[in-house]
């Protein structure tokens, strides 16, 4: 019982420190508290909406086939990544990218690897290369959107998701991700609800997690900030 109270007090102090740290009017006297907050755990409990089956978007059509040996090497690398042999996969994708600079797939997977390793800047660089090489590939655009979001480049993330959806209007992943972006990071409740509704319309049996999000959003009191069109700093 005591620990519950103490935890709450610590949470309140931590919240004060975090909120104050971002405020330019707060003096340097908060620095000790800032340290305490930054060293505190940041593990998260997350709701995954991916419980519902999500159809991958159809690939764009290309005139020329990929060299079979290259395709095999790429598939082997993907198998390695899927099996958790990340270093092996990374080496393989890098070799394929070097030998086939016209292919976006190796860069896209390097982007996924780096993003999952917390190297968001490297992930963005690889995914931008992938999108540059295959601008009509919605999966690359979705991945780039996620990486931009993690980087805090929300306007770019929105554009990437919208481009993914322009290529494949039924791409559930990009649809939901755009909804989350509007919801949590752009403060645009209306657009978030629109995206969640679009997403839910793809699943006749529903998605209880996202339905819960929608109910929560509808019950939410309007916040003081609703900015969605502001350009982020690069």
């Amino acid at each position: 019982m005591r620990s519950a109270s103490q935890t709450s007090l610590r949470a309140a102090v931590a919240a004060l420190a975090i909120a104050a740290a971002g405020c330019s009017t707060v003096s340097d006297g908060m620095s000790a508290m800032k340290g305490a907050v930054s060293s505190g755990g940041s593990s998260s409990t997350t709701s995954s909406a991916a419980a519902a089956p999500v159809r991958p978007p159809p690939p764009p059509v290309y005139d020329t086939p990929v060299n079979p040996a290259t395709q095999r090497a790429f598939d082997d690398a993907s198998r390695a990544l899927r099996s958790g042999r990340v270093d092996e996969a990374e080496r393989a994708y890098r070799a394929i990218a070097q030998a086939n600079p016209e292919l976006g797939g190796p860069h896209a997977n390097l982007g996924v690897i780096y993003r999952q390793a917390g190297k968001v800047d490297d992930a963005v660089r690889e995914l931008e290369t992938a999108v540059k090489l295959s601008p009509r590939q919605p999966i690359y655009l979705n991945q780039l959107g996620i990486a931009y979001r993690q980087q805090g480049q929300f306007a770019k993330a929105r554009d990437a998701y919208q481009r993914a959806l322009a290529q494949d209007p039924g791409y559930a992943g990009a649809m939901l991700n755009l909804g989350i972006l509007y919801d949590l990071y752009l403060g645009d409740t209306q657009r978030a609800l629109e995206q969640y509704a679009r997403y839910l319309s793809l699943f006749p049996n529903g998605d209880p997690t996202v339905s819960k999000w929608v109910a929560d959003l509808k019950n939410r009191k309007p916040g003081p900030i609703t900015v969605s069109s502001r350009q982020e700093k690069p």
């Binding site: 019982m1 005591r2 519950a4 109270s5 709450s8 007090l9 949470a11 309140a12 931590a14 919240a15 975090i18 909120a19 971002g22 800032k34 907050v37 930054s38 940041s42 593990s43 998260s44 409990t45 709701s47 909406a49 999500v54 991958p56 990929v66 290259t70 790429f74 993907s78 990544l81 899927r82 016209e102 292919l103 976006g104 797939g105 190796p106 997977n109 996924v112 295959s134 999966i139 690359y140 991945q143 959107g145 996620i146 929300f154 559930a172 992943g173 991700n177 919801d183 949590l184 752009l186 403060g187 819960k212 999000w213 916040g223 003081p224 900030i225 609703t226 900015v227 969605s228 502001r230």
Partner: protein, 63 residues
């Protein structure tokens, strides 16, 4: 009064402050403090803030 009841206002205050900080993301601020607030809110209000993007673990499209 139970200790939990005494603690409740502090939890509420903590959540309120983290939410205020997290809202700064909408004006383009996404520093480590804002990220820390999002992390805290994922635990304090999982339905509202514990949302993770759908991501392909492996990209099968070679181009």
């Amino acid at each position: 009064m139970l200790l939990e009841e005494q603690a409740f206002p502090f939890e509420e205050k903590a959540t309120e402050l983290h939410e205020l900080n997290a809202k700064r993301a909408a004006s383009g601020v996404y520093d480590k403090w804002v990220k820390s607030s999002f992390d805290a809110l994922r635990e304090l209000r999982p339905v509202r803030y514990g949302k993770t993007e759908i991501s392909e673990g492996v990209v099968d499209a070679i181009r």
